[in-house]
Symmetry: C2
Subunit: 108 residues, 2 copies
């Protein structure tokens, strides 16, 4: 996991924040599979994820159309349903348009 | 740390992704202080943070003006400088306009 190498704005971010239940069944495998699957989607620009008390996964997309297609991807739809019924006690998804960005890298 | 209880969109998200150096001096104290300080700022709506390989902190703001004021807050400016010179090997800040959100809560 590195900082996502996104292009110049504008582009889109889907900020998914969640709190896990105590049901581990299949969660890790599906989470890894969703990142693998997202990587193959048209318009996917990168992803960053970390979990402590809350989990935060931010995926970056070229445009709204790419986000819409990913939302309706069959395997992703099944995973989201499992998220609701088993893996999370709560979550929030925010779709945002990245308007500017700036960064820093040692030696960069 | 809970999922931030943000109002109906639109509002703004500042997505700060970072990779830490091996210098711990003063980091945890300053990180906690920045969250405390942000909480007192005009237009601050909430924050979510987690760190594994990367750290992700998403703070939510009412408008661009609130973000601008927070960026220029003196103590925050000093902390960012320390971040560049000591605590991070790389980071990226993305300012995004949240256009829609949806969530789920067990029993909610």
């Amino acid at each position: 996991m590195k900082i996502a190498e996104t292009p110049a704005p504008p582009y889109y971010a889907v900020i998914f924040t969640s709190i896990r239940s105590d049901n581990p069944n299949g969660y890790a495998e599906t989470a890894a599979r969703m990142i693998e699957l997202a990587n193959g989607q048209e318009g996917f620009l990168g992803v960053e994820t970390a979990r402590e008390e809350v989990g935060i996964t931010v995926s970056y997309w070229r445009d709204e159309e790419s986000i819409r297609k990913w939302k309706h991807h069959a395997e992703h739809t099944l995973a989201r349903e499992k998220g609701r019924t088993a893996w999370y006690t709560s979550f929030k998804t925010r779709v945002a348009r990245v308007e500017r960005d700036y960064g820093f890298e040692v030696g960069g």
